[in-house]
Assembly symmetry: C2
Homo-oligomer: 267 residues x 2
């Protein structure tokens, strides 16, 4: 199964939650922290308890990179724990000139064997095309993010009448020849979603901002359903993986995920 | 010596060339390729032959990340070869929400002990501030890059009359309270440099685009001298490190660097 088949398979089943493996030694259950391979054991618990009911997993590279080579090994070992039938997004937000982006793409797709990437659009098409050319992988390009800094540049108004992030959506749509592209669209402000959803076309939409960041899950789902758009993936990291700090953390994460799934299907 | 002292020390001596260690097994001299630690031996040759005459070294993370954990080890071993009195820029173009950027900053400055970073501005101030708070390190934020894709978003015109990259320069200047910030400003079009140099204020300027990308070295230097601005660092990667493919590659790189230095001082 390629990346596009994996995600479509889950979305058709009504699974829209991406489990973000932002695994931090200072936040995982205390009983695990002193053990060997603490993060790996934590990841294993979360992966096993959620993999059949999630839309995807998202690996935040920063949480592994901060330990250098040993972190990269941990990332590779975590990936081995994830079943082959679920999309894994390498959340690294790369973007550089062509020959450099080519190497980042090689890192994500050849070395780590990930299904999907997140990318920064700032440097434009030739910084993204080495990724886009991996036509069976999915690439989520940052459009509107869910942090306060989105006002600094993303939301500035262009003389064309569009905002910068809207120009990103528009250009990414034109680059979507292989139907393998998506955007990151922050979900903290529902009106922004409503104002832009008619321009999403065939793009996959990865939405951060639900959970710890407070986005309105029901409102988001209702908006997508009203527009008959089923291509949405809602990322939840902290609110799901740290829902419980006891020995039952994995079971509780599964219950939280089941609740999210129920809410989505009840809308 | 902190990062700011390191770079000022070199700039005062008239050294403005940053040696970009874009070391690629397919491009280093053939006689090295089959050896153990080929890239490390290549880096050692280049570092030893150029470290006293360069302004800085720049490590392009992609060239190491593509090998995963072993690449990260190679990166760390390369850093051990660089003398302590010269600035080392970790060119990784990171940028994410606050708690994630915090980890990327930890990776660069705590784990790898780098002096400086390159950052993508797209997500705005709170995505950069965990880096900026490392006040004794230097952070180069992408403004205008030297690739064709700079037209896609960087050069779009805002209703304020500025282009997107000019708004980046303006905001980065206001964030430069600790005088530890810089911008990346592509050097392929001299008119763009002339049009913007009066807005650079105290920022350090890292200029890609000379060498393989064809920027006009003399024109750039003349422009900075005319504006009594000495805070410029011109990156050269391929044209310097791959200048020769014989056993004398390191010596030839030194000669190329000497020639660049002479050109700069003769302007």
């Amino acid at each position: 199964m390629n990346a596009i088949e994996k995600i479509n398979n889950r979305l058709e089943k009504g699974y829209h939650i991406c489990v973000g493996l932002d695994s931090d030694i200072n936040k995982i259950p205390v009983h695990l922290r002193s053990e060997d391979d603490a993060i790996l054991k934590f990841n294993k618990g979360i992966i096993e308890s959620t993999c059949d009911l999630a839309a995807a997993f998202k690996i935040n590279f920063a949480f592994y990179e901060k330990e250098g080579a040993s972190g990269m090994k941990l990332l590779a070992r975590t990936l081995e724990l994830i079943p082959n039938d679920i999309l894994v997004i390498g959340d690294a937000k790369r973007g550089d000139i062509g020959n450099t982006s080519q190497m980042y793409a090689q890192s994500l797709f050849e070395h780590f064997g990930l299904d999907a990437s997140t990318l920064s659009p700032y440097m434009g098409h030739d910084s993204l095309s080495p990724f886009i050319d991996y036509a069976k992988n999915i690439h989520f390009i940052l459009a509107l993010t869910s942090n306060p800094g989105s006002h600094d540049f993303e939301k500035l108004e262009l003389t064309s009448g569009k905002k910068v992030y809207q120009e990103v959506i528009s250009k990414v749509s034109t680059w979507n020849k292989s139907k393998n592209l998506g955007i990151v669209f922050g979900a903290t402000n529902l009106d922004e979603l409503k104002d832009n959803i008619q321009n999403f076309e065939d793009l996959f939409i990865l939405l951060p901002g639900v959970g710890a960041q407070g986005g309105d899950l029901e409102g988001i789902v209702r908006t997508f359903k009203e527009h008959s758009n089923n291509n949405y993936i809602i990322n939840v990291s902290r609110a799901l993986i740290y829902a419980d700090s006891s020995e039952k953390f994995a079971q509780v994460s599964r219950t939280v995920l089941e609740n999210y799934n129920r809410t989505i299907n009840d809308v």
